[in-house]
Amino acid sequence: MLKKIVPFACVIVGLTSCSLDDDGDDVIIDEIQIENPSSYTFERDGASTVSFSGQTTRLRMGDELLAAMMDDSSTLEELGAMYAHEEGAADFSDADLNASDKNLLTKTAASVDYFSTNSAEQIAIRADFNSWLQTQVEEVFPNWNTVATAGVAGQLADGASTRYVNAQGLEMNQVFNKSLIGALMVDQAINNYLSPDVLDAGDNPDNNGAGITEEGKNYTTMEHKWDEAYGYVFGQNADAANPNADLGADNFLNKYLGRVEGDADFAGIADDIFQAFKLGRAAIVAKQYTVRDQQAVIIQDKISTIIGVRAIYYLQQAKLELEKESPSYGTVFHDLSEGYGFIYSLQFTRDTSKEAPYFTKNQVDALLAQLLGDGDNGLWDVTPETLQDISETIANAFSFSLEAAAN
């Protein structure tokens, strides 16, 4: 018994005190050393074992789809095909994306932990994404050159920018974008690839233990699964080995990791996530799965924090503008459209003490109904009190304060 506890205690001390710094000091557990490199660089026989090209591909598909949502000549068929791309179809401007057998739809609400036996919610969530594309094409595009008013889709000024909203004041491109961060990037990273059910599936532990790589590849399946989680966070950074040098490299999770890192109340979160990914990956190489799973918990916590913080941030920013004497509705709606997507994404977060999302789908649906429910015209009618109320509800579920997230 004691023998089991001692190595565990060593790791805890190592993690919470000084032995893990940027230089990647090694961690010693019960005679077994985890070689923790200073960057996310792992090799076997002199060649890299790190691979997450499939994640990078999906991030780029997302970029093209978002751009197409803002081109009012796009058809619903075109947008739908970009979302549910099939190998070889000429859906994108990038030939590599067209050739890919990957797509966004089949990874939406698709994690093993949350959706393997939850088809009903998976179907409902995918229907939401399709409905946002449909609203953009059928409601917003026809009013592209109309000034939006309560109950009428169209465009609004937000400072020097122009925002295109539906009749309820929602920007569908923002709703789609920010909801996809939860439903795809977060869900896949923390509820799928970091899950022991995925990492340890089938023969993975045996193969990883024996150093048996996938056919034609230089990595074990377990190594690759971990890297796929990493790819959803860092898949478009210039230097994959040291990704935090250019935070904000995509339109998805990485961008908002950068934003939360920029909030003094949360500074350090980017390095915390990076260090946990790195040590966890090193632990897989060293076959130290307890350490691996401890790092997974850290990542799950921190990534969930990003979603909670940004949901509150946008609600509070919108509230500030809304309380002005003559608020700019374009500014308010832009913030709230982003906020809507981050609230939607809360159902994909993970409270690691409960192994469950901070808000269930039903709770999220209720928050979104509340956001649009102050009158007949959705955001046109929303009150500062409602924004405050939703903000408090979210903050109460997390360990950080509303004030910390608000600025």
Binding site: N145, A160, E325, E338
Partner: protein, 378 residues
């Protein structure tokens, strides 16, 4: 004993600054290290701003813009090089006048997004061509703000063809000439109507609202307008007129983003006009006059603001003059940028040096909170 010393200090201070808060004397709750309250009449400053600077600037703009409307009508009736030159001169006059009101994006101007509606550049030449061809302009749409205003006129009067004779030919074309004239007229009238709306709002109610809101909260007129003019200085004067064109923020020079890109010698004229207007506002100098009223400068005098042993208002004025000297010595901005001249980058630095004095030293002396941050994008 300590308290006694403090009272002496207050008495002494009151001899110099005329008054100190009577509350501090009476209620006895003020701490020893509490602020010494300086008496400065913000209300007098607001009156000076409204009555001697802002409203006269609007009035002047409207008067002079009548000349643009008239010159445009003459051009439309008789398309000739002479009439083009007359219209162009009137346009440039009014574009300079605009620099005296652009910074006052408060109240009715803010409600109407005046600055973005009047002076968004670079102008969208392709969208302008489409609007002319279609005959529908959509000037109320936010997405069309880059198809109108002074920058669109710059293109229509200076850039639509290479020479005056060729420009005339565009407007004389039997097929499309009339459509071009109609569009130009619509641009002119859109400017007139939008500025008039704001000017009228100032003289029919907003002036009194503005002056009456003379407190010291975040929503008081002083706090708001100080924020608005600093924002203007930083984003529109410094970044818009110089920083973005020289590639300060991207590393890539973008001369096409210059104000008055189609009449390049005017970029400098407009920058200097805006710098003059800004400095006059800072000093409370009456519009087109030499008399001065209460101002940010006199407020700093009252506060006895000193930085590195020098009066802050003198430092700000001296640095604004350094910046002006730097730009005056430059050639045509477009050519400076295209020849990668270091001089315009140096001049930019002179403009930039004013920013911390305004945004840090001045506002903290006045206890004004800066309410904008570097744009978050989304």
């Amino acid at each position: 004993m300590k308290r006694k010393v403090w009272y002496v200090g207050v008495l002494l201070a009151s001899l110099f600054i005329l008054a100190c808060s009577s509350d501090a004397m009476d209620d006895g709750t003020q701490q020893d290290d509490g602020p010494v309250n300086v008496s400065f009449d913000r209300s007098a400053m607001l009156r000076n701003w409204a009555d001697n600077i802002i409203i006269p600037a609007y009035t002047n703009f409207n008067t002079n813009f009548n000349a643009v409307v008239a010159a445009n009508a003459a051009f439309k009736a008789d398309v000739s090089v002479n009439n083009l030159v007359t219209l162009r001169n009137a346009w440039l006059n009014s574009y300079q006048d605009w620099q005296s009101i652009s910074m006052f994006e408060i109240g009715p101007a803010e409600d109407n997004d005046l600055r973005l509606n009047i002076n968004t550049y670079p102008t969208d030449v392709q969208a302008i061509s489409e609007a002319i061809a279609n005959g529908t302009y959509g000037f109320d749409l936010p997405s069309n703000r880059d198809t109108k205003g002074f920058p669109a006129m710059d293109y229509l009067l200076n850039g639509i063809a290479a020479t005056d004779a060729e420009i005339i030919a565009v407007y004389q074309d039997t097929n499309s000439g009339q459509a071009h004239l109609d569009f130009l007229e619509a641009v002119v009238l859109d400017i007139q109507s939008r500025v008039s709306t704001v000017a009228t709002a100032w003289t029919s109610g907003y002036r009194d609202t503005f002056v009456a809101n003379d407190g010291a909260s975040a929503t008081a007129s002083t706090d708001r307008l100080v924020n608005d003019v600093i924002f203007y200085y930083e984003k529109f004067l410094r970044a818009g007129k110089v920083g973005i064109p020289i590639g300060k923020f991207t590393g890539t020079a973008a001369p096409n983003t210059l104000e008055a890109y189609y009449s390049p010698k005017n970029s400098k004229v407009l920058l200097l006009a805006s710098l003059d207007a800004f400095q006059d506002f800072f000093n409370g100098t009456h519009f087109q006059g030499s008399a001065k009223g209460e101002s940010l400068a006199s407020y700093l005098v009252a506060l006895n603001s000193v930085k590195n042993g020098e009066e802050l208002e003198n430092l700000i004025n001296a640095q604004l003059e350094n910046a002006r000297d730097s730009f005056e010595s430059l050639g045509v901005f477009k050519e400076e940028i295209e020849s990668s001249s270091a001089s315009i980058a140096d001049a930019y630095d002179q403009l930039q040096l004013v920013v911390p004095m305004l945004k840090v030293d001045m506002v903290s002396a006045m206890s004004i909170a800066v309410d904008f941050v570097d744009a978050d994008g989304d």
